[in-house]
Symmetry: C2
Subunit: 334 residues, 2 copies
């Protein structure tokens, strides 16, 4: 084992906190002192202890939140929950948007290795999985908590909702409203939350005994115009769904636009239920039946776990499951 911060401090006749801050490139330390500490640490082959480095390193006082987007109301509420906790702890929150671009996500994460942030809260982007950067991040000494969109192949600390059950309940809800041809609106890119929701949907259908070919999975992407084209063609066809589960908020809004454009009535012609955290769901035409995730609480929980790990060092992989709520409104009225 190499030299410790304590030894460096003793040898250079500096306070331990000064050495720690100097090694963390803190602006509180003069360039001269930094130079002395850097030089001596290099000479003595100082290596930070990865399991306690966040305590020994001068902290940046920042935590990063990495998200696909902020226009989805789930994410803006989750940020509010995260900020509530961070502010109490005196930390700054920096928000980074990936726009569902995995290479952008990787490049953002690469920056985190150099002390820019003390911890990361993350909801992974859809899109082709090249999980190397997530593996690197989880192997680094920066604590990370995933929320909502997690990556199950790596053992991490996760905060999720009961997605399978919610997908199941959404389909059951439509079946109870006498829907005969259900569609699940999926999102391309192999997100695990979407696949859990879809599996719950499929379980409800197989239990219902209705023939599988009456139902459909419609995979939508990031391009709104393309999605609207795909939906219009599906909703003009003879196999038009009479009940739709939107796996995320924006696809539900695209179904609304499509039905408005084609003069199809929601809920008479098509019933719609969607995973959505939209504050104004009740003001839509018609008001939207939602599976509402506890977004604010998820953000709070994820941030709380992160700070617990920052305070105590080390983090045990665990998955916290919070419950979503089905709120019935006019879009699934019989």
């Amino acid at each position: 084992m190499g030299i410790t911060i304590k030894q460096i401090a003793a040898d250079l006749n500096l306070a331990v906190s000064t050495v720690s801050k100097a090694l963390g490139d803190s602006y509180e330390i003069s360039a001269e002192t930094k130079a002395r500490v850097f030089e001596y640490a290099t000479k003595m082959d100082y290596k930070p202890n990865p399991y306690a480095s966040s305590l020994k390193r001068g902290r940046s006082g920042n935590i990063a939140v990495v998200l696909p987007e902020v226009s989805d109301s789930f994410f803006s509420s989750a940020i509010d929950g995260i900020e509530k906790v961070a502010q109490e702890k005196g930390y700054h929150v920096m928000v980074y948007l990936t726009h569902e671009d995995v290479s952008r996500e990787a490049s953002i994460i690469r920056e985190f290795r150099h002390g820019r942030v003390d911890g990361v809260l993350m909801s992974v982007s859809a899109g082709e999985k090249k999980p190397d950067h997530l593996q690197d991040l989880s192997a680094s000494d920066i604590p990370v908590v995933f929320f909502d969109r997690v990556y199950e192949e790596i053992q991490m600390t996760n905060v999720v909702t009961n997605d399978f059950e919610s997908g199941y309940l959404a389909a059951k809800h439509l079946l109870s409203k006498k829907c005969k041809r259900l569609a699940f609106l999926s999102l391309e890119g192999n997100l695990e939350i979407i696949s859990h929701r879809q599996k719950g949907f499929e379980k409800a259908l197989s239990e219902s005994g209705i023939e599988g070919r009456e139902h459909s999975i419609i995979v939508l992407g990031n391009d709104e115009q393309e999605n609207l084209k795909k939906l219009a063609s599906k909703f003009k066809s003879k196999t038009r769904p009479d009940g739709v589960v939107g796996s995320v908020e924006k696809v539900a809004m695209q179904v609304y636009s499509t039905c408005h454009a084609l003069k199809l009535s929601i809920p008479k012609d098509v019933k719609v239920i969607a995973f959505s955290h939209l504050a104004i769901a009740s003001l839509l035409n018609p008001s939207l039946t939602t599976i509402t995730q506890p977004a604010f609480d998820m953000g709070k929980m994820a941030a709380t776990l992160l700070f617990k790990s920052l305070d105590k060092k080390g983090m045990k992989p665990e998955t916290i499951v919070l419950k979503s709520e089905l709120i019935e409104r006019d879009s699934t009225r019989m």
Copy 2:
């Protein structure tokens, strides 16, 4: 004048870029080299030229966006515009939320003085103005561009929309729909954009010759429940407005909620027009007539001005005015 980076590089037999990065604490440079450079720079009394420091300093590669919130669709679109430009330039965008809290805004900005970011894009928070931190920021060597919510008492680079004219046109629109008792829904905290919108509104009323006491200014705050109480009491009174201009998106949604709760019909009983960038304005019940600001373009323009100044150093105070668009929908139908 002290020693230059070029001289340091020559004296230490290093590349100029290496010295520059070392002085900027870049992670690309080894601790050993940093130590050599720091030590020599200190010894030779190197002082960065404040007017060109962003060129000489190792850049952080970050720009900060300081906003009140992301749940307003104006801001989420503006972020998209900013990110488009930043990505082309190879910069990271970090989003900081003030939640309309001026002291929080001040504390965020204080962090920027230490090289954490190369430039700042900002929309100021409402609330009691203590503009010291804005003055400090504008006097610093960090380029700043304000957009939408600017602070006119300081000469800065601003990107705004034609708020006075839009407030005027919004009131004219309601008058043309035979509204007799107009209300302007203002936001507490002395934001200049709100006061411009209100002045435009008042000009249209004074031109119309309708008596002033038929009209009202309702000042709303940040607490949704308080706002709903205030609106309910106003909409239950004998002087209920029959036409409303919402100065921001959320107050318009609160009018919708109030009318739904009181079983007042929009547009029959109350016509509503609002400053809003909501993508789903057309899906509301009823669809909302909006003054739509070019949020994405404002973000793009603000970021473009910021990078222009980063490339060329120095920034001239100027105000760019982009035009908003009135989009008529069902909420003001006669």
